[in-house]
């Protein structure tokens, strides 16, 4: 029998069961989905739950300022602002990262990427970060221009985080048609290379049932643990993410 690795409990109802206890510690997981699929909420709940368990949890928000992230989080019952004050939860945006890098401008050049990884490594080590979410890795990859650079970036980032014992979710934006399931040619990331390097892929999507959309979650792969391959319905509630198995006869549209 294969011995399973220590797990990082997400604390999200249903997800830990799907993952047979949680994400294997040190894994770098691609959290893929189209806009509105629940990626940011799931990522934040993962961090907040970790912070509540005493693990230093960090969000690196590439797409919006941390003040806006906090404003959105206040709508969720799982959020406790004291976690920020008590330095268990850190919400960092690009402005704060630029400041650490000594960069004043708003756009990176390719050569800024290595310092960016270094500064992330520095943050993870100095703060003893156990959980990290980068929202989104797609926005960073967008600046890298070539697939080779993207592959290098994701590989180096994953290695750095894993070596530091950090369990990370890299939010990956995909277009809606690519979020519908395991269809030939479907990719789980904007550039199609991130998924090959990541230790796990959690795909958030949607199905249509008689004209109504239902959000779904599907763990496509997760190294280091057995996991369910079933598609689940994902509900975004004021309490956070709730998951329930998708009725099999309701899996098809129409």
């Amino acid at each position: 029998m294969v011995k399973e690795r220590p797990k990082c409990k997400t604390g999200i109802e249903g997800l830990d069961n799907i993952l047979n206890g949680g994400i294997p510690r040190g894994n770098t997981v691609l959290l893929s989905g189209a806009c509105g699929s629940g990626k940011t909420t799931l990522g934040m709940e993962y961090l907040v739950n970790g912070a509540k368990m005493g693990e230093i949890s960090v969000l690196i928000s590439v797409t919006e300022p941390s003040s806006k992230v906090v404003a959105n989080l206040r709508g969720f019952e799982f959020f406790d602002e004291a976690l920020i004050k008590n330095e268990k939860l850190y919400l960092l945006d690009m402005i704060s990262l630029y400041a650490r890098l000594g960069i004043e401008k708003k756009d990176y050049r390719i050569e800024d990427i290595d310092p960016l990884i270094n500064i992330m490594e520095d943050i993870v080590k100095k703060l003893k970060v156990k959980r990290l979410v980068i929202d989104s890795v797609t926005a960073i990859c967008h600046q890298l221009e070539t697939k080779v650079r993207i592959r290098e970036f994701v590989f180096n980032l994953g290695k750095t985080l894993s070596d530091a014992g950090c369990t990370s979710l890299l939010v990956s934006e995909v277009n809606p048609t690519g979020a519908w399931g395991l269809m030939p040619g479907v990719t789980y990331s904007a550039y199609g290379v991130e998924e090959a390097i990541a230790d796990g892929i959690i795909l958030l999507g949607a199905i249509e049932r008689k004209g109504y959309m239902l959000r779904t979650l599907h763990v496509v792969k997760m190294r280091g643990t057995m996991h369910s391959l079933a598609k689940h319905i994902l509900d975004l509630t004021p309490q956070g993410v709730v998951l329930i198995p998708l009725l099999k006869w309701g899996a098809e549209s129409g």
Partner: protein, 190 residues
């Protein structure tokens, strides 16, 4: 208390938690049977719980049951009718709206969510009704849903009732309900 109230009270007083009861209702006494159920569960037994409404909008049921002097303060509604009938409803305390009766999984998720809100020590789930769901869902998915629903309710520390109107539910579905539910209670039309 009228005859139907007494009849309902007599027939469901032996029901137990962790059991799922199929209530086979007479079509002519549909509302009176629901009133009798709520009267027994809420007024006589002091329970709170979740009313899953797939037949009539929650607003109508709250209003009608309130008019019967049933205190609905600790009864929470999962309403899959209003949105479809009237468009996006305004937010109402004690009600979660679901966009369509085809979103069967959401009914279960929201029932769980609302059960946590009910404060009464003893709780119920009342599902109104399977025949309404049969209008919007085909037999395959409805059968699967019933199977999952009954197994889910049967594992909860609550009194569970699934209403089905006699003669209005597809035969195969009614047969399945009788097979998977712990008790079958026929009320009205005997």
């Amino acid at each position: 208390m009228d005859d139907i109230d007494k009849k309902v009270s007599q027939k469901i007083k032996e029901t137990k938690k962790y059991e799922v009861n199929l209530i086979l209702s007479d079509i002519n006494n549909y509302f009176r049977i629901i009133k009798g159920m709520m009267n027994y569960l809420v007024t006589e037994r002091g329970m709170g719980g979740v009313y899953v409404s797939a037949t009539r909008p929650s607003k109508a049921m709250i209003s009608r049951l309130g008019a019967e002097k049933i205190n609905m303060d600790d009864v929470f509604f999962v309403d899959s009718v209003s949105y479809m009938a009237e468009g996006p409803p305004a937010s109402v305390d004690n009600v979660i709206f679901i966009e369509s009766p085809t979103m069967l999984e959401m009914m279960m998720v929201k029932t769980d969510t609302l059960l946590r809100k009910a404060k009464s020590p003893d709780k119920f789930v009342f599902f109104d009704s399977i025949n309404s769901l049969a209008i919007y869902n085909n037999e395959n998915i409805l059968s699967e849903f019933i199977h999952v629903l009954v197994n889910s309710l049967g594992g909860k520390d609550v009194y569970s009732f699934i209403l089905s109107v006699k003669g209005e539910t597809p035969k195969n579905i009614e047969t399945l309900l009788k097979m998977v539910c712990d008790n079958v209670v026929e009320i009205g039309g005997e």
